[in-house]
């Protein structure tokens, strides 16, 4: 009952008031950024800002899923990794050792076999139209699928092994990085469509479980497909779409990159703002707030939900591409649930789910805290160890760095639970206007 009362307060919220809260918060953020510049130097600070900007894109993706539509995506990391992979695959120079041999043909042939196998199995599932009993049809389809899968996968293993031993990996396409970002967004959207199609009609918990799973699978695939990604050997450097540090120096090159991401955020922000206030956005929120009455009004709930989920995933793919290109390193093991899922989650719920401005604020603020907390955590750990050694003769564990990281894991977890309990609407809550 209390939640309903709160919603009522929001309804009478006057939209025309002077945005004191926004101004204060962003002013504080500006001061913090200037402080970092003063302390850490321009090159470091600009790098931090670019990364924060990329995270802001991810956070915008999550805020439309969670804030606009109440869908919880626990696998942001997977979509980020997909975007990163595409950025790498499209921008890295062409590998002549691969393309010069007969291997591309072999690979293409196996992929064609794969397509053919899928078609055969689909055909088998339609056998009942020819009068085959349903049980028998299912049996045939399953057996065919298993056998063909085994055949294709063992052929695939052969070819990929060959590629790995003779050419290292397939290399890239040598195209500009932004093509990779776009395709990365599209790929992430396609995976999002697949997951959303299955889960969005069911309880919302299932979406969280499924996205968590797909993220780990994407990571496992990228990590173990050495022929495609060099796996743990990592790929670097990745070309930038802008002149790199070698030509312009660190600060200027990064500032140029920052301007690109800033333009991207501005465009996304503008489009989202338009969509939010368009009938489409109103419909989405109507579904979130009262599913039953929205359905009664004849709205195609699952279709709208799928649209918003896919849109969010596309943004995550694009943001992931931009982030990976900026780091100039594709390391599948570097995608961590903590850094790429939960950090984004904290940004969104702290900043204000469903409020784009709040989300961007949350992204930049949380990222600054996150970056600054690393040396702080190490320092605190060392302090604790020295006290421990002095007072109890405690043996200091060797791997302090990784343990300091664990302290940050704890803090992120604590932050999530505290925000949910004490500021469930974030620092800049979504302004719900009455649209009866």
């Amino acid at each position: 009952m209390s939640t309903q009362d709160k919603r009522r307060e929001d309804l009478v919220d006057t939209p025309s008031r002077f945005p004191v809260r926004e101004v204060v918060l962003f002013a504080a953020l500006l001061v913090a950024i200037l402080g970092v510049y003063a302390m850490m130097g321009t090159a470091y600070s600009t790098r931090m800002l670019v990364e924060a900007a990329c995270y802001a894109i991810l956070a915008l993706g999550l805020t439309i899923q969670w804030g606009y539509a109440g869908q919880f995506n626990a696998g942001v990391m997977g979509f980020v990794a997909l975007g990163g992979f595409c950025a790498m695959f499209f921008s890295v120079p062409v590998n002549d050792a691969f393309w010069g041999s007969e291997l591309p043909g072999e690979l293409g042939r196996v992929l064609l076999y794969g397509v053919a196998a899928v078609l055969v199995v689909i055909g088998a599932t339609r056998l009942d139209r020819l009068g085959v009993p349903k049980r028998l049809r299912t049996l045939i389809a399953v057996v065919l699928a298993v056998v063909l899968y085994l055949v294709v996968i063992s052929l695939m293993r052969e070819v990929t092994g060959e590629i790995q031993s003779r050419a290292g990996f397939v290399g890239g396409l040598g195209l500009p990085a932004w093509t990779g970002w776009i395709v990365g967004g599209a790929l992430a959207g396609a995976v999002g469509y697949f997951i959303g199609h299955i889960c969005l009609g069911l309880r919302s918990d299932y979406l969280a479980i499924a996205t968590l799973g797909i993220a780990e699978i994407i990571k496992a695939f990228l990590k173990n497909s050495d022929w495609l990604t060099r796996g743990t050997a990592t790929v670097s450097p990745l070309p930038w779409p802008t002149p790199g540090p070698a030509e312009l120096g660190f600060t200027l090159a990064r500032a140029l990159y920052l301007s690109i991401t800033a333009v991207m955020i501005a465009v996304i922000f503008f489009l989202l703002h338009r969509a939010y206030h368009a009938p489409w956005g109103r419909m989405i929120r109507a579904i979130r707030d009262n599913e039953t009455s929205a359905a009664a009004m004849g709205k195609d709930i699952n279709r709208r939900r799928l649209e918003i989920f896919v849109l969010g995933c596309i943004l995550m793919g694009i943001g992931g591409g931009a982030l990976t290109t900026f780091n100039s390193l594709f390391d599948p093991q570097g995608y961590l649930p903590l850094n790429h899922t939960f950090l984004v989650l904290v940004m969104v719920i702290l900043g204000g789910p469903g409020n784009n401005l709040g989300t961007i604020f949350g992204a930049v603020a949380v990222y600054i805290i996150w970056i600054m907390s690393e040396p702080l955590a190490l320092f605190l750990m060392q302090l604790a160890v020295s006290i421990g050694e002095g007072a109890f003769g405690w043996d200091a564990p060797a791997n302090m760095d990784s343990r300091a990281l664990q302290a940050r894991v704890f803090v992120i977890g604590l932050l999530i639970t505290l925000v949910l309990r004490f500021a469930p609407k974030g620092l800049l809550p979504e302004k719900v206007k009455h649209h009866g």
């Binding site: 009952m1 309903q4 009362d5 009522r8």
Partner: protein, 234 residues
């Protein structure tokens, strides 16, 4: 002192008042029946008595002791039993387990009360190991009543016990309510079948728009031409 007394009760959901001043009083051995048109707040009043919604104004007394806004499990301890209209059994629990849940707060009485309930509703004994979800509507209502009786209540609240039942079962349920009452349990019940319900009622309360319209004995209400015209369908 009346068993149950409600004085000027106001209340509702989410800030919207449905009850706008309801008064009622039932003695220990009486059957009270609440009737009235749809949306009059009949079931809401019953829920207010059982602590399922917040009473914003007025008071409800059980044997002179204020009980409004106490949680349901406290009210069960104080001798109140409630039978909701829908979802009134635990579908995957067996009939016997459903009844045992009724005596959750008085486990020492379980065996004695089980025997009493089986004697009172013989069909339940035959089906005691069957999941309650598999029973017919009438038998489910028996399970629900049996469950409530297991706690040996002084006051039993029934929310439309005959809704959706065939006329045969309907009569059976009314008979059972009378028998329960004869055994010394006070009854407060909401009913759609106003005529039949008022016929067994000691006290009748006709609610409209969350207020008492008529309050009298059941027989007097049945005889009142105005009540008959507006609420009993001629």
């Amino acid at each position: 002192m009346p068993l149950l007394e409600a004085r000027d009760v106001h209340g509702g959901y989410g800030g919207m008042n449905i009850l706008n001043g309801v008064n009622m009083a039932i003695e220990a051995d009486e059957i009270g029946v609440i009737v009235g048109p749809n949306g009059a707040g009949k079931s809401t009043m019953l829920k207010a008595v059982f602590g399922l919604l917040t009473v914003s104004q007025g008071e409800i007394l059980l044997r002179g002791e204020p009980i409004h806004n106490l949680p349901p499990n406290k009210l069960v301890q104080k001798g109140m039993g409630f039978i909701p209209q829908e979802k009134n059994v635990f579908p995957s629990l067996s009939v016997k387990e459903n009844l045992e849940m009724g005596a959750f707060l008085k486990p020492q009485n379980t065996r004695r009360m089980l025997k009493q309930v089986y004697d009172f509703f013989p069909p339940l004994y035959d089906k005691r190991h069957q999941p309650a979800g598999e029973l017919s509507g009438g038998q489910r209502q028996m399970v629900a009543m049996g469950r409530a009786l297991m706690a040996e209540p002084e006051l039993l609240l029934l929310d439309e016990p005959t809704a959706g039942l065939s006329p045969l079962y309907m009569n059976e349920i009314f008979e059972r309510v009378k028998e329960i009452n004869a055994a010394g349990v006070g009854i407060l019940m909401v009913e759609q079948n106003a005529k039949q319900a008022l016929a067994i009622a000691d006290k009748g309360f006709v609610l409209a728009a969350g207020q008492n319209r008529f309050t009298d004995t059941g027989a007097a209400l049945l005889a009142d031409p105005e009540v008959a015209r507006s609420f009993l369908g001629g």
